[in-house]
């Protein structure tokens, strides 16, 4: 038997390992999270992230095999994130993958983290119908892309400054919330009313995003006055973000007709984004694909599934770090 791929993901602060079959069945997936370590710093502290990866990666690999009840000799190969991400963290994953590949005599290939995200919506069940419009919204990335098939991707836009996730974390910090700010802002926003007219940057034209102006507006407001409830600030901020994301997605869908609308990345967990995306999909007559949250955030299974694509297409990238890997690369 050799019908599983081991996926290794260490681009940021999660050590994530999974075993995945060719059609996306997740046989096991283990994630060792560092949230508690980084909470103290209000964000990911790269040196500590790398130290933590080196402690946890081998036990996490072992746990993934134990959970799957299979032996390493039963795998086809190993896929490991080669970028984009934090250099220290990526190097731990990559060098671990190379060592395992030698010891088990299995091929090791380097995979683009972003391509992992794009494929995450097909984990466990095939949800995506092509061509698909994909909105990736995470701590590291924000972009719209159209996928003609799993390998052929056209990037339509990206952010000129902050990613949506960064914006959530920074506003979270301004409101005194723990890292990561996203889930806490989401919760707080439900208790408030969107009464503050924050700017919707670049709302009226094009597909590009920009969030630094919105972030600055929140900061200015909080510095100027205590007159607003935090819950109302959160609700108004989330509303501004959701309106921008949905408006741009609508424009992209009109310009590039698609069968499915896929939202991936950690920010896809936001309940208001999910609700607004459903409305938009109904209006546009496309199928909405929202992978379960555990696949929307960083995980090893999405890397393993992308690795299958690479193997099938014969794209064998060496496991070498490339920090600023873009979507158009493999």
């Amino acid at each position: 038997m050799s019908d599983l791929i081991l996926g290794i993901e260490t681009s940021c602060d999660d050590t994530a390992i999974a075993l995945v079959s060719e059609n996306g069945d997740v046989i096991s997936s283990v994630i060792s999270s560092q949230i508690e370590i980084h909470n103290e710093y209000g964000g990911v502290y790269p040196e500590f992230a790398a130290r933590e990866h080196i402690q946890t990666i081998i036990p996490t690999v072992k746990a993934a095999f134990d959970q799957a009840k299979i032996s390493p000799k039963d795998i086809k190969g190993i896929g490991v994130t080669r970028g984009p991400g934090l250099v220290g963290s990526l190097l731990v994953g990559i060098n671990t993958a190379i060592g395992l590949g030698h010891g088990w005599n299995k091929p090791v290939i380097g995979v683009n983290h972003l391509r992992g995200h794009l494929r995450s919506a097909d984990l466990e069940e095939q949800r995506v119908k092509f061509p698909a419009m994909v909105l990736l919204v995470s701590g590291g990335h924000t972009f719209l892309a159209q996928m003609k098939n799993p390998m052929e991707v056209q990037v339509l836009s990206s952010t000129r400054d902050d990613s949506v996730g960064e914006c959530f974390d920074k506003v979270g910090r301004m409101l005194g919330l723990d890292y990561p700010g996203g889930p806490k802002i989401d919760k707080l926003a439900h208790k408030g009313k969107p009464t503050i007219p924050f700017p919707r940057p670049m709302m009226d034209k094009g597909l590009e995003f920009s969030f630094s102006g919105l972030k600055a507006a929140v900061s200015r407001l909080l510095a100027a006055t205590d007159a607003h409830e935090d819950a109302d600030v959160a609700a108004s901020f989330v509303q501004a973000i959701v309106e921008v994301l949905i408006k741009k997605s609508e424009r992209a869908l009109k310009k590039h007709p698609s069968k499915s609308f896929v939202i991936v990345g950690g920010v896809a967990a936001n309940s208001q984004i999910r609700a607004a995306a459903q409305k938009l999909s109904d209006k546009m007559g496309v199928e909405l694909c929202l992978p379960p949250i555990k696949w929307a955030t960083d995980n090893g299974a999405m890397i393993a599934l992308a690795t299958w694509d690479y193997f099938k297409a014969g794209i064998i990238k060496p496991p070498k770090v490339q920090l600023n890997l873009t979507m158009s690369e493999f």
């Binding site: 790398a50 690999v61 220290g88 190097l91 671990t96 060592g99 395992l100 005599n105």
Partner: protein, 218 residues
């Protein structure tokens, strides 16, 4: 039954393969135009020495202090190779390699200094009689107690002057040792093998954090 030595603390990364104490391959004997990382050196080693990975039965790895990224790379590779082969990994500090390199040249007490963060150093004290002592902190805090009985010392690394300024009465000998002799990983294999770690125990790069928590075995 082969032993693999890995060192990434010094500017010359080393992959060494030895059989019963005889070195079959040492990456420092080869020169390439392009700088190679440690796993590329390992692949060269496999090719040049025509060995099979399966014949490696022990890994001795340098755990720093050194370049944080390079040491992490070497240790991550050593841990995963050891785990996947089901063999042990033996951690050795770069401070110990430096001190032993000096001792092999001249049998005089050695102070090895590696600067780690801001004004903090990893400080190794080796007198040939006792196990090496490794301490961490500012020189002015750590050294007075450590050097109270010393009349002359060899200092490895580039911080001789700092010690001379603090202790003008001590004679400082400079042998110009800036790097550890990585073949000592093999020459002292018997000693290092006593520290063999087998999964679930793994090797960690030395840091101020695990030093303070007593988590590294030197």
């Amino acid at each position: 039954m082969l032993t693999l030595g890995i060192s990434t603390s010094f500017s010359n990364y080393a992959i060494i393969i030895a059989k019963a104490g005889d070195v079959l391959f040492n990456s420092n004997d080869l020169h390439f135009e392009e700088k190679k990382n440690i796993t590329e050196w390992f692949e060269v080693a496999l090719e040049e020495s025509k060995i099979s990975v399966k014949d490696i039965s022990k890994i001795i790895v340098d755990i720093g202090p050194g370049g944080t990224t390079s040491v992490r790379t070497g240790v991550a590779f050593a841990n995963s190779l050891a785990y996947s082969l089901g063999i042990a990994v033996c951690p050795v500090s770069s401070i110990e390699l430096l001190s032993m390199t000096s001792w092999a040249q001249q049998k005089t007490t050695v102070l090895s200094l590696i600067k780690f963060m801001k004004n903090d150093y990893f400080i190794g004290f080796y007198d040939g009689k006792n196990d090496i002592r490794i301490l961490y902190g500012e020189l002015a805090d750590v050294l007075p107690d450590l050097l109270k009985d010393e009349k002359s010392l060899i200092i490895t690394g580039k911080f001789q002057q700092k010690v001379a300024d603090l202790f003008p009465e001590i004679e400082i000998i400079n042998l110009g040792i800036m790097k550890g002799d990585t073949e000592l990983l093999i020459k002292n294999e018997d000693l290092f093998s006593k520290r063999a770690l087998k999964f679930p125990e793994i090797a960690f790069p030395i840091s101020e954090q695990n030093y303070a928590n007593n988590q590294v075995h030197f």
